[in-house]
């Protein structure tokens, strides 16, 4: 579930970066151009497929584990996984500020289970 969710997020992020700033595109070319560019992008379609796999993997996980464990554990691991994948595949600058933020949020999400 975590792998599919991270893959989906990374693919969607990559697709949207290649489409361009949606606000500027909308202002210069209109809504239909924005929607068309997004839907035609192959990485967008792959990202949606990955998100769908993550959803069904979550349902499978929930069939054998408690939601109070699965939901926060998967959410926290997804945060950390997204940080690592974004650094490796999207070449984002993950500085100390973002590492601390991700650590705080991941721990905070896990504590929401109690």
């Amino acid at each position: 579930m975590v792998t599919a969710s991270v893959t989906g997020d990374v693919l969607l992020s990559k697709a949207m970066k290649q489409v361009g700033d949606v606000g500027d595109l909308w202002k210069n070319h209109g809504m239909f151009r924005v929607v068309g560019n997004v839907l035609r992008h192959p990485l967008f379609a792959l990202g949606i497929v990955a998100m769908a796999i993550a959803f069904f993997a979550l349902l499978f996980g929930l069939s054998w584990g408690d939601v109070s464990l699965i939901a926060p554990a998967s959410a926290s691991l997804t945060f950390v996984g997204n940080m690592i994948a974004a650094k490796l595949f999207l070449h984002e600058r993950v500085d100390r500020r973002r590492c601390i933020a991700v650590a705080f949020v991941a721990c905070g999400v896990a504590l929401l289970a109690f």
Binding site: V19, G20, N28, N37, A86, V94, A101, F104, C107, L111
Partner: protein
Amino acid sequence: MTFRKYLVLVGVAVFGSVGDTLLSRGMKDIGTISLTHLQSLLLALQNLWVVGGILLLIGFFAAYMTALSWADLTYVLPATSIGYVIIALIAKFVLHEQVTTARWIGILLITSGVGFVAGGPALTPLPEPEGETEHQREPELAMRGQS
């Protein structure tokens, strides 16, 4: 970061959290859905809470995609985590659920994380070619958008 872009980030958090809450409220009205009676899922579409939740989640997805077009993934995800806090506050003050001390600590940690990341830059600059000045990704994205 402009005011409009901060609004988009707030939209991601608010639409996602309120949309999930409305879905939850609507599905509780419908009751447990069995795998042998999946057609009862169609009944869910007649529930106003579920319809409202779906509309808000469409708004969440649109705002999320918009944010990803001009900000890093590692910026958008923690910056919009305030949605978890909104859900907990809705649970406490609207649904009158019990919120334990551990959850309040979790809320504090999430809020701190959001504050940390929101104060920093949203986008990783492109690497500087030799002999040229540093430039941001946005002009290149604008050029791609016009192609």
